[in-house]
């Protein structure tokens, strides 16, 4: 079983990403399936597996689709190349606007130098590209520890921080 980063820790990957469309769920397994397959086989998949997550293509409108996937324990978002930032907007919308509290997982061309930005946009699970050093990826989450603007993490906007400082 491969290892991934979840909640700042390096852990065993307990999910299987079934991009081929044919991998069958096992009663004890957790399976991530593409949105199209979820739409076609959702009920059967849920019945046959311990848990089903959905892989949302980065070209899809997260807001429009959310009602179909809101109850999933995991949503995986794609980085076809690491400099393609569409999934970052999907993640921010899922966390901030739509209120998704399950696992938000980054998959694809996920390199160490993308990790910091993923963390700020609300991803709590990161599956690095196989050639990446896991420990380096984990520590990259804290590469920059101050932020100017709010995103989908705990940072307060800098203008709000300065307000409280001025009054306190």
């Amino acid at each position: 079983m491969s290892r991934i980063i979840r909640q700042h820790a390096i852990v065993e990957n307990d999910w299987t990403l079934a991009v081929d469309g044919t991998t069958q769920p096992r009663a004890s397994g957790k399976l991530i399936v593409p949105l199209a397959r979820w739409r076609a086989e959702g009920e059967e998949l849920v019945a046959g597996a311990a848990a089903i997550g959905v892989l949302l293509p980065n070209t899809e409108d997260a807001e429009a689709i959310y009602p179909e996937i809101a109850d999933r324990p995991l949503i995986a978002l794609q980085f076809p190349v690491f400099a393609d930032g569409r999934a970052l907007t999907q993640a921010v919308l899922l966390r901030n606007r739509l209120g998704f509290t399950g696992e938000l997982r980054a998959v694809g061309d996920v390199v160490r130098d993308l990790v910091f930005w993923l963390g700020r946009c609300g991803f709590d699970a990161i599956v690095p590209r196989p050639d990446q050093d896991l420990e380096a990826c984990r520590s990259a989450l804290d590469e920059i520890r101050v932020a100017y603007q709010p995103a989908a993490d705990a940072h307060e906007p800098v203008w709000a921080r300065r307000r409280s400082r001025a009054t306190g």
């Binding site: 409108d61 690491f82 400099a83 393609d84 930032g85 569409r86 970052l88 907007t89 921010v92 901030n96 606007r97 390199v111 130098d113 993308l114 910091f116 930005w117 700020r120 946009c121 590469e143 920059i144 520890r145 101050v146 932020a147 100017y148 603007q149 709010p150 995103a151 906007p157 800098v158 203008w159 709000a160 921080r161 300065r162 307000r163 001025a166």
Partner: protein, 562 residues
Amino acid sequence: MYRYDQIDRELLAQRTEQFRDQTRRFLAGELSEDDFRQLRLRNGLYQQRHAPMLRISVPYGLLESAQLRRMAHVVRQYDKGYGHFTTRQNIQLNWPQLPEVPDLLAELAEVQLHSIQACGNDTRNITADYLAGVADDEIVDPRPYCELLRQFVALHPEFYWLPRKFKFGFTGAKVDRAATRTNDAAVHVLRRDGAIGYRFFVGGGLGRQPLLGQEMNAFVPESDLLLYACAILRTFNRFGRRDNIHKARIKIVLREWGIERFRAAIEAEYAKIGSSAEGEQLRLLPEDIERMRSYFSAPHYRPAPEAAADVDALTARDPRFAAWVRRNVRAHKVPGYRIVFVSLKAPGQAPGDCTAEQFETLAGLCDAYSFGELRSTYDQNLVLADVAERDLYELWVKLDAARLATPNIGLTTDMIACPGLDFCGLANAGTLGVTQDIYRRFDSLDAQYEIGPIRITMSGCMNGCGHHSVGHIGILGVDKHGEEWYQVTLGGSPGNDAAIGERVGRSLARNEIADGIERLIRAYLELRSDDDETFIECYRRIGMAPLKARLYETDDSEAAAA
């Protein structure tokens, strides 16, 4: 001037270390060329012909003396003793060595200069009216809003990996001196019924398909600057094309969708942000704006009677000083003060170049005569914004000695040009030799004064860094079978009357182009209705045909001779 606090300093220091580590990993072979490319671009490093080029952001064109002294030091220490000011008010170094760049950036960080998002597919340095705060036509000083937006977009995690670059340009004045509508988003700060707000234009951009920004919203309230910017950037990040780099700017989304659908998408996103917790976080309170405004308050001007001097008497005594006052000095909104333009277009100088000695001289001069600050302009010149009239002559003597007082602001030899083939890896043709050829033809001040205001702009390739598309006369270098050729456009303008120039016809060879430009200008002098009709006014009245005939008149003579 904005002053960094502990938060700003920590952020920039950590960012600098982040890039130091990325550079170390690349040089150690742990990071591929491809992966590193995306990272170095976001730290201002662009691969050029001879070496990486480092672009240093000058937020909204504002510099202070300590920064100028540091620039003098870094161009000596890490480069060949000069820097280059660009149309985006930035400074570029052409010869840094990659292993030394992290140290260079650390030295810049000490004086709150940086290269964050200076290149790459992200939000770039914000440009603004170079007369912000001193222009007599100003409605609202845009700089506090520029800095608020700068902080919002700096290292913004959601908008750090956009489809393509994204540029903001600001003005708060009636006259647009910042070519705002050539930006992906233009922000005009204004007042309506006494309340401050923003008129937003979106979808401008030069390059291969030059377009001017279209109005998106006539009045966004002052509190909502970041909400509206967020709505635009989010729409771009979602829908900007990523399949073709030449179709990836936001202007292409606008063009493909049409303005109604495009505006509806941005307004819908703005409304969603506004009605959510995100909007609550992004909405600025009056105290936030007030705090930022305090950094840009007016300097302590001396009362007029003390500051005043008889400039007229001095100009009568010294014709060279008079020429400089006439072209490079403008009225100031405060009595007894003037705005002084520093020309970076001396004979033989590449437009926008500034040597280490000149950086140092300018640092001293802005300390002595302009409250320690200097601005860089859209036209690749500099401005000392707050000079007392009684200091003008002394200042001129010192500028003149440093070759910074060429009295050509807004005239024929005040050409805008990118570095061209001599430096840039993208360029198809040289620019610097051509500008010098044109320069020599119009070097005489009398000739330039006769011609009057004219904007000649030149780019070495269609990416258009030299803003050829918005020049009254635009020159675009093209490659034809390994030779340098030049296309001419006419009628462009970056200002309130913004227009994209029209291509005249076939391109001219390297040895024809300066002659061609000279013929165009001579034709204008013959065809103008009177001495007051400027080149662009004349073009708009008479159209392209008479000028075109003159540009290509050697064709006829060759044909006649044949």
